[in-house]
Amino acid sequence: MAQLTRRTTDLLKPFSAALSSTRLLTTTSTTPITVETSLPFTGHKIDPPSRSVETTPQELMNFFRDMALMRRMEIAADSLYKAKLIRGFCHLYDGQEAVSVGMEAAITKKDCIITAYRDHCIFLGRGGTLLECFAELMGRKDGCSKGKGGSMHFYKKDSGFYGGHGIVGAQIPLGCGLAFAQKYSKDENVTFAMYGDGAANQGQLFEALNMAALWDLPAILVCENNHYGMGTAEWRAAKSPAYYKRGDYVPGLKANGMDAFAVKQACKFAKEHALKNGPIILEMDTYRYHGHSMSDPGSTYRTRDEISGVRQERDPIERIRKLVLSHDLATEKELKDIEKEVRKEVDEAIAQAKESPMPDPSELFTNVHVKGFGVEAFGADRKELRAVLP
């Protein structure tokens, strides 16, 4: 139940009448609102945090806008794929936006995030632009990986987003490596290594977890449990689907991944824990509306009733919408306007991305190796002819 602060609503009402269009700007008031998460947290070998989350109206509106943007982007990617502008593999994140948005609210850009192939929205959350996203999906030069990576290889080094990996489970040891570097340089940041319920059965996860626990690395392993590993339900793939408990000696926390505030609270809690005590496993109970990828209809292994049921009851954007409306931060119409604005933004980005050119054929050979430090007679690709002293 939301606890309203009467003062805030009384202040806002006269504004709403007079300046409806600019009301959103005036709610940059940092008057805190306390929201309760929908479900309590469950912990494994740890005391779970409280259900009350402090937030501000600005943050609520930002959550709404960001999630609407992500949702819109994924749906646009769906139609682009069907129009054959995006080809190959395309894994969509709609339904799971709360995880990305909630996590971003709890951390800074200096913390690292690494994830698997369902990375479009996390890239956006880390500060990627829509143009970079769509251009990369369409294989154009302006993409974040210059069109050479594709849907599964989005990276953003300056804001700590380390990808974007195609092989299931391979990103977890990488994530522990990032944590190792953070501990090495003592910079008080953490790494969130994200994976799915399918990857939770990979051996390399447990190997990496063992090492992270042994050396107290600030690694937070986040299992985005959408209950299906491509076509296999979690109960058919794992003897113990309580992924937050699988760390055994590593504490775990389970949160409702469809509630952005639960995610935010869990991530904040995990960051504090990891900096002091070493690794922790987070399990985000979430759901994907699309199939595993665009070539999977998503309905052969689950019923349409299930999908629409989750959409009605647990949709993350709907939850934020209800919160916004109940706190009187915006009217229905304004929220709809935000959605329209977001849609326009996505359409413009797509149009701009479509105009971006394909990469030059010479790009085929760039970035295979990095040029040496000058003393070799031949480069690794044997194109240098003479030794060059640095």
Partner: protein, 494 residues
Amino acid sequence: MLQAIGVASPSVSFSDHYNKFSVSSIRSFPVIRSDSRLISVSGSVHGSFKPKKVIAKATATQTESSASAASKPGHELLLFEALREGLEEEMDRDPRVCVFGEDVGHYGGSYKVTKGLAEKYGDLRVLDTPIAENSFTGMGVGAAMTGLRPVIEGMNMGFLLLAFNQISDNCGMLHYTSGGQFTIPTVIRGPGGVGRQLGAEHSQRLESYFQSIPGIQLVACSTVYNAKGLMKAAIRSENPVVLFEHVLLYNLKERIPDEEYVLSLEEAEMVRPGEHITILTYSRMRYHVMQAAKTLVNKGYDPEVIDIRSLKPFDLYTIGNSVKKTHRVLIVEECMRTGGIGASLTAAINENFHDYLDAPIVCLSSQDVPTPYAGTLEEWTVVQPAQIVAAVEQLCLIHISSYTHSLAFPTMTSSSNWRRKLFDLSMKYSVQTRLLVLNFYVKKRKNLGCLRVSEAENLGSSWKVGHYEKFLDRVDVGRDRRISDESWLEVECY
């Protein structure tokens, strides 16, 4: 009891050009079935029928009209269905055959190769594994050690890199290190190769990584017919076999015989017999080569195309016979240049057949780069038919220049009276080839004589002039001259 194995014989006839076949030798080897009946199985048939069929369908196969389809023997199906049929027949025949893989059971397989099998054989025989390649491959090897015959599917060959240790150490080496006590009759299969913009990690060609592993056999299927045959042979083999399928070939359609047939795992397939050059290829590149072969035949070349199928060990018998006939080898593969199948094959042919080679072996492979996502870049990574045509012409060019060499060089000492030499550069050699020879002589500042243009070509002289002038600005192309009943193009250069 002998079962006769039939091969579909199409009644389509082609031009005389394809009439010269090498004598077909149908090799039989007895295969002992588990219920101890002897059947005689024929290996791949050389010459006679297969080449005609493949040339007609150089790229994707077309469906024939229903009228003709009804009268032909055999049944038509897609490649993934043929794989499924082979697997199903083997699972019916031998209850020890089982399948491990991700989403092979209830989902039916990500490429539908195992669709319907879980309903028929149950969840334990068609096992849906969690995403743990290293472990379920190891599990397969362990099961094989006790006598089961697992077929392990990697959803994409690239994922099997996670299982490399199990494949290399346990699969490959256990028969040896146990002194022969254990056999590992596993089949490890999956789609690999460059698809349509699947990204770098999902477009890997693992044949080059696996080829050094002692103890395993590698085969690559390329047509519907050999997919089913090789699948069955791989399952029946007592050795671990890695069967490479290709993502883009799953929807090929072809007519295969109704009767049961098994192909040999170590034999290469003669796709198109020829005289001028041997082109060795496998998997998807076979179709690029056949497309290039169409162009080459129009230009007057006669390539011999062999689908090597067996990547380890190489069928040096078929390859050697071909090299002895044509003296030129071109290898077209989808592997990387460095350390790929082509590199090993080049070494093997050089070692064994060096004396029969007139020219160095040319190997066309993919670029040594991770496969980019952008479509245009991805096309450049793999070998395209135009590059194959150019390579064949380059290889055959050696033939031309040695010919003209012998004509020109006796009088090369005095350039002043060296005029009007006639060169037989007839139109069967492409413009690029002729221009290359021209270039060679232009550089030596020789005056060329006349370039003979064959009568069959009915192009205006302006075209001819334009072509040569564009390329060499030191060539003055003169008028057409007629010498007897052939037209000669006078070319003079400074």
